[in-house]
């Protein structure tokens, strides 16, 4: 099996995502033009222009917030930077002489073609984004992280403060910069191009390797790292692409509004864009677009209601009973209520992560390249040699010694069991081997190389792949997508191994009929099997299974034994399996280590261990005088 054959379904994704982007573009532009034609006023035209620009910016924000799950208040701050940069490059020297005659660095004399100005503004914004991105990464950004949100809030606040207090460059708090520019952006054309590009980029990114890995990390950061994903790299990619789109949108916004003031890119605009994003559903591009349309319509309606009250509907009541509600600026109340209402009753938005192109693909029921159940996999004859050696590991949590001098050894082609009562330190040992817990003493080696100091994602790429006692799947992703995350990493980092087709692994795990189900919809047994298939897709040197049968019935456990053995053999992995279930362990293992109170108290063949009185004591509890 060659690595480029790993994803039979990849081709259609790219083609369809373009189709989806086109569809969303048609929805926004077509709907907008129709509204303009029906209403036929200048203000309708301005409303649609504003909506299209908002759509670019909201789709830009979606690329970061949606794919990483990190709430950003800072994107409007990026917009401010891009907006000012664009204005400073594009406004004519005469206008600048009037507003900001003291601007440093010869800015007054700069006068660029607006297209070029937009490009330069985007580049400048990207430079800032790299710095902010490094900061976010350092703070350990992950889905919902408060520290990351605070950093983005700081960016918004700092740009606003600088804009207000640097009148030499920004025109200050009141006057701002207004537009008289040398060239033209040809009316709507620039907006159309930018909007289409934004939609294409957003859908393309979501389908790209980086996008999928970012979403995996959003769903479960720890599991993603354990599958070899470095979420920080993917988050940086998402941030840069997202900021580029927002920059272009912000430049166009400034251009269309004809001026820029600090408050144009502050809390109010942040609220508006975030409401648009969450109302539609932040996890999808379609959701973002629908949110923009719904909120634009709702805002316009409430604005007019506030202005005209009942007269809007042709009812001219004197003393209308609810007149006190219809006040100027009603739309601001509407925005606040929408934000609250959706957060309370529907935090995932109207559409959640529903995508137009995916729906189209399902509806059209196109000939699928891989809709036949793949043949079952044969076990590898030539197992690549590998060795794992753990020596004298100590782990202390506070005053509690979780492991003292624990050590073990495992080789490829072998299934090693690790048993012990609850609290013996089994999971801690696996956490050490997968980089989640740093031992206070001792080390472990893979194929003779010290691996003690490596990060979880590096260990996974190096072939130590685990499953989790309490199940960690990427819940919003389908069965197929879960396995593909691992396969994507394998394709890049495990090229010296035999890599198996993802669909074949899914079929092998008995999940073929469920391949397009979301992982969070699976029942317990299937979830466990999916975790196993996902781990196997990395073609690990060692599979570390933490209680793979916990919570399973006896029959399921029995089937699991065979599945673990077979799955490991098809990818040539050695297995280290943790369980408390002695029967399960003896049924599957070639050798067994017994852990009690942080120490290895016995090791040997299953029969030896079972007969060992110390093991029985550890299990059933010592008698009072033991």
């Amino acid at each position: 099996m060659t690595p480029n054959n790993l994803f039979p379904n990849k081709q259609r994704d790219i083609g369809f995502s373009a189709l989806g982007a086109l569809g969303l573009f048609a929805l926004l532009v077509g709907g907008g033009l129709a509204y303009q034609a029906i209403v036929g006023t200048g203000s309708a035209e301005r409303l649609i222009t504003t909506m299209l620009i908002d759509a670019i910016i909201v789709v830009g924000i979606q690329i970061y917030v949606g794919n990483t799950g990190v709430l950003s208040f800072g994107h409007v701050g990026f917009g401010a930077i891009a907006g000012y940069a664009f204005a400073l490059f594009a406004i004519t020297p005469e206008e600048k002489l009037k507003r900001i005659p003291d601007a440093p660095w010869g800015l007054v004399d700069v006068s660029l073609n607006p297209w070029l100005a937009l490009l330069l503004a985007t580049v400048i914004c990207l430079v800032v984004a790299v710095i902010v991105g490094v900061g976010l990464a350092r703070s350990g950004a992950e889905s919902g992280a408060v520290a990351a949100t605070v950093i983005t809030l700081a960016l918004l606040f700092v740009t606003h403060e600088v804009a207000r207090n640097w009148p030499d460059v920004t025109g200050g708090d009141r006057a701002g910069l207004s537009f008289a520019i040398g060239g033209s952006l040809d009316g709507r054309i620039a907006i159309y191009i930018a909007l289409l590009a934004a939609l294409l980029v957003a859908r393309w990114y979501a389908q790209s390797r980086s996008g999928r890995l970012a979403v995996a990390a959003r769903e479960d950061n720890l599991a993603a790292r354990a599958m070899g994903v470095n979420p920080l790299v993917q988050q940086m990619a998402a941030l840069l692409i997202s900021v580029a789109v927002v920059s272009v949108g912000a430049g166009l916004k400034v251009y269309e509004e004809g001026s820029i003031l600090p408050d144009n890119f502050f809390f109010n605009y942040t609220l508006l864009t975030l409401v648009m994003l969450i109302v539609g559903g932040r996890n999808g591009v379609t959701g973002a677009v629908v949110g923009v349309i719904v909120m634009t319509a709702g805002r316009e309606l409430t604005r007019r209601l506030g202005q005209d009250g009942y007269e809007l509907f042709g009812i001219g009541l004197d003393d209308a009973p609810l007149d006190w509600i219809f006040r100027e600026n009603l739309q601001t109340v509407f925005l606040g209520l929408s934000m609250l209402g959706f957060m309370i009753w529907r935090p995932s938005g109207l559409l959640d992560d529903w995508e137009l192109d995916e729906w189209l693909h399902r509806r059209l029921n196109l000939p699928k390249t891989a809709d036949e159940q793949p043949d079952s996999l044969t076990e590898l004859e030539d197992v690549p040699q590998a060795n794992l050696r753990v020596s004298d590991v100590d782990v202390r949590f506070g005053g509690f010694q979780a492991l003292s001098g624990a050590g073990l050894e495992a080789n490829s082609g072998e299934i090693v069991g690790l048993i012990g009562p609850n609290g013996a330190g089994k999971t801690t040992l696996v956490n050490v081997i997968t980089g989640l817990v740093e031992p206070s003493a001792g080390s472990f080696e893979v194929n003779g190389h010290d691996a003690t100091a490596l990060a979880p994602f590096e260990l996974a790429r190096g072939g130590l792949v685990r499953t989790f006692q309490n199940l960690r799947l990427f819940g919003a992703l389908t069965v197929r997508e879960n396995v593909e995350v691992a396969a994507m990493i394998a394709q890049q980092h495990r090229t010296d191994r035999v890599l198996r087709d993802t669909d074949a692994l899914i079929a092998e795990a008995g999940l073929w009929p469920l391949r397009d189900r979301r992982a969070r919809e699976l029942d317990y047994g299937n979830s466990r099997r999916l975790e196993l298939a996902r781990a196997a897709a990395l073609s690990p040197a060692f599979l570390l299974l933490d209680e793979p049968t916990s919570g399973m019935s006896d029959e399921e456990s029995l089937a699991m034994v065979e599945q673990v053995r077979h799955m490991a053999a098809t990818v040539g992995a050695g297995v280290l399996v943790i369980d408390h279930d002695l029967a399960f362990i003896t049924g599957i293992s070639d050798r067994i280590y017994v852990l009690d109170q942080g120490r290895i108290i016995a090791d040997g063949s299953p029969t030896d261990v079972q007969a060992n009185p110390a093991v029985q004591a550890a299990y059933l509890g010592s008698t009072a005088d033991a």
């Binding site: 960016l155 109340v333 209520l337 609250l340 957060m343």
Partner: protein, 295 residues
């Protein structure tokens, strides 16, 4: 030397108000894991109450308790109408909910109360100073510092000596276990909002006395100060929040006097940038809150 001493006193005065605000933010974060962007709304609403009362001829002696009551009631109402419905939701939802509350309150005030800035007379003694050697100390700063110290001591006593304080601390550490001990989640959360509202009210009295005006978005500033100070101190740590408040007050005053002339107006931006740096290098704030990964 005189200037430094002068700055320190100014900074302590400011910092006192920030500390009270931050303490309220930290109390809420402790029990609900909610970073409350609506923490300034208590002050906005009480500002309007104060304006109304002054116009109706009340004296400041009566307005002070009025502000405290309005602040506590607003805090409880916000909890009842919004935050009680998102208990236990994701951090993402909690953050946006409080952001939404902040906007909704300002929007409602803007539409249905007044869009313009409302000015009211400040108490006469706010501008008075007294001289200590060659130092000129504002009477106002002195009062603020004294009241703050008393409030902090009282809060400490409340948290250390009363069952409610104990329940609050226990719930902040481990909500489920506190419930196993019979601590009622409703009472402890509402109590936290009442305490937070009261602290915001005390800070609000000073804030409003000094400002002499209010407007629908007047809450943004105190909210940001409170949130920032709580962040500096490490969210959820009360001691940290108080220290963060004083640190923020001092940093503002000192930066303002140290930064070159052209940049002095950027003080707040610089403070915010410093906080971002702090979070980049210490995501848990000054007093780092332990964070272990559970597998």
């Amino acid at each position: 030397m005189i200037e430094l001493a002068q700055n320190l006193i100014d900074g302590l005065g400011r910092g006192s108000i920030y500390a009270l605000l931050a303490l309220g933010v930290a109390v809420i974060f402790g029990v609900m894991h909610l970073l409350n962007f609506a923490h300034g709304e208590m002050i906005t609403v009480s500002g309007y109450a104060a304006f109304w009362a002054l116009n109706a001829g009340w004296s400041w002696t009566l307005i002070v308790p009025l502000i405290l009551v309005v602040s506590v009631v607003t805090s409880l109402l916000i909890e009842r109408l919004a935050f009680s419905r998102v208990r236990g939701a994701s951090d993402f939802t909690l953050l946006l909910t409080s952001f939404g509350v902040h906007f909704l309150v300002s929007a409602v005030l803007l539409l249905y109360v007044s869009a313009s800035v409302k000015n009211y007379p400040r108490p006469g003694w706010v501008a008075d100073t007294w001289a200590v050697g060659s130092l000129r100390v504002e009477v106002f700063d002195t009062v603020v510092i004294v009241v703050t110290i008393i409030t902090l001591l009282a809060t400490t006593a409340l948290l250390q000596r009363t069952m409610f304080g104990l329940a609050l601390r226990a719930a902040a550490a481990d909500f489920d276990t506190a419930r196993l001990m019979g601590v009622r989640s409703n009472s402890v959360i509402r109590g936290a909002f009442a305490l937070s509202g009261l602290l915001a009210g005390i800070a609000g009295v000073f804030w409003l006395m000094r400002a002499g005006s209010t407007n629908p978005t007047a809450g943004i500033d105190p909210m940001l100060k409170g949130v920032l100070a709580a962040l500096i101190g490490g969210l959820g740590s009360l001691r940290g929040a108080v220290l963060g408040g004083f640190a923020l007050g001092l940093a503002e005053v000192l930066l303002r006097s140290w930064l070159p002339n052209g940049l002095a107006s950027l003080t707040e931006g610089v403070v915010f940038a410093l906080i971002a740096l702090l979070f980049i290098f210490r995501p848990g704030g000054l007093i780092s809150v332990g964070h272990a990964e559970r597998v």
